[in-house]
Amino acid sequence: MAVLTPEWTAFLYLVAAVCFILALKGLGSPRTARRGNLIGALGAVIAMVVVFLSTELDNLALILGVIAVGTIIAVPASRMVKMTQMPQLVALFNGVGGGAAALVALLELEHSVSFGAYLAVAFTVLVGSIAFSGSVITFLKLQELMPTRPIVFIGHAAVIVVLAVVGLAAAAIIVLPEAWLAGVGLGGLKWSAAVAGLGVGSVLGVLLVLPVGGADVPIVISLLNAGTGLAVAASGLVLNNTLLLVAGTLVGASGSILTREMAKAMGRSVTGILFGAFRGASSAG
């Protein structure tokens, strides 16, 4: 139903964005933290009501059904998880968020026309899928379903470099004008490039997190969290949706600062945590 005018939609998205800012602000102090989280949830409810009331949506029953299923999965999981296992649950939630952003960008590829939109699609597909698979590995490490010690195999760093180059090549195909690509015999490959980006990003996420030791994993979760935020912001650019842009950017920026602060509190550096194992230096495990 499109019962809300574009003006009301934009206004209510602004209200939701303010709720998110107040949520992050509130979470910074013990006295206001719980209320802050509830304000954030209120913002999310407002945003969800607005999207259903402002957009002509097909498949409405299916969408509402899937949201109900997601809620039925998420609430008991969050309610029943042991206190000590909360960080890995947050990692999983972060992972599915990154995956969702990557899929949204993939599907919006065919509706994209501008250079900026293509760039945002390429960024979201790569970063979203890295956040997805990286978070799954952090979950497996914290849950001790795999060894928590840093894992580095022979040629590990070289494989990462090669995959990064392949990922950038896929991004280039997504971003470059179709006419130019057709001229060099690469026409009609944008969709395949985006799917390849999804695959490369997923493998990269695994390879980047494997060398991280168990004690450093929470910091990496925070880093991937910031990455998902930026991916969501970029998907806001793709969809021309200011709320996604603002909310994602807020999380990306605050998550980056938070990652640095967490590393500092543990007396470590973010680059040391990510790449320390390659230099033979120890990663606290």
């Binding site: 949520a23 992050l24 602000k25 102090s29 013990p30 719980r34 989280n37 509830l38 954030g40 999310a44 969800m48 002509e56 949506l57 097909d58 498949n59 299916l62 969408i63 899937v66 949201i67 997601g70 809620t71 999965i73 998420a74 969050s78 206190m83 960080p87 649950l89 939630f93 599915v96 968020g97 995956g99 969702a100 899929l103 949204v104 993939l106 599907l107 919006e108 501008s114 900026g116 925070s222 969290n225 935020g229 969501v232 998907s235 969809l239 021309n240 949706n241 200011t242 996604l244 842009l245 603002v246 909310a247 994602g248 950017t249 807020l250 999380v251 920026a253 605050s254 600062i257 967490m262």
Partner: protein, 103 residues
């Protein structure tokens, strides 16, 4: 929307994001990360829009997977943060509060 308007939103949001989390005590790092994690679950808005405009079965299936993943991120994120903060409050004052939160 014009590119420059979007860039303006982006830059201003970066500064707000930096500003709101500076000077946070280290005990609140994990709940803050968890709360921020819940907020980016708002990608659900995007997933719903994409699913609502899907016109072939493959697109619809991929979009609904995105809707499912985003819902878990958004709903689970806020619920688990709330539980974390229950625990946080209990640790400082009354042990009873911590036990109560398990119910």
């Amino acid at each position: 929307m014009e590119a420059i308007t979007l860039l303006t939103f982006f830059v201003l949001a970066v500064f707000i994001g930096f500003e709101v989390v500076s000077k946070v005590s280290s005990t609140l790092h994990t709940p803050l990360m968890s709360g921020a994690n819940a907020i980016h679950g708002i990608i659900l808005v995007g997933a719903v829009i994409v699913a609502g405009s899907a016109d072939d079965p493959l697109t619809l299936v991929i979009a609904l997977i995105a809707v499912l993943m985003a819902t878990i991120n958004l709903v689970g994120g806020f619920v688990v943060t709330d539980r974390m903060l229950e625990m946080f409050r209990g640790r400082g004052s009354a042990p009873a509060a911590r036990e109560g939160s398990d119910a």
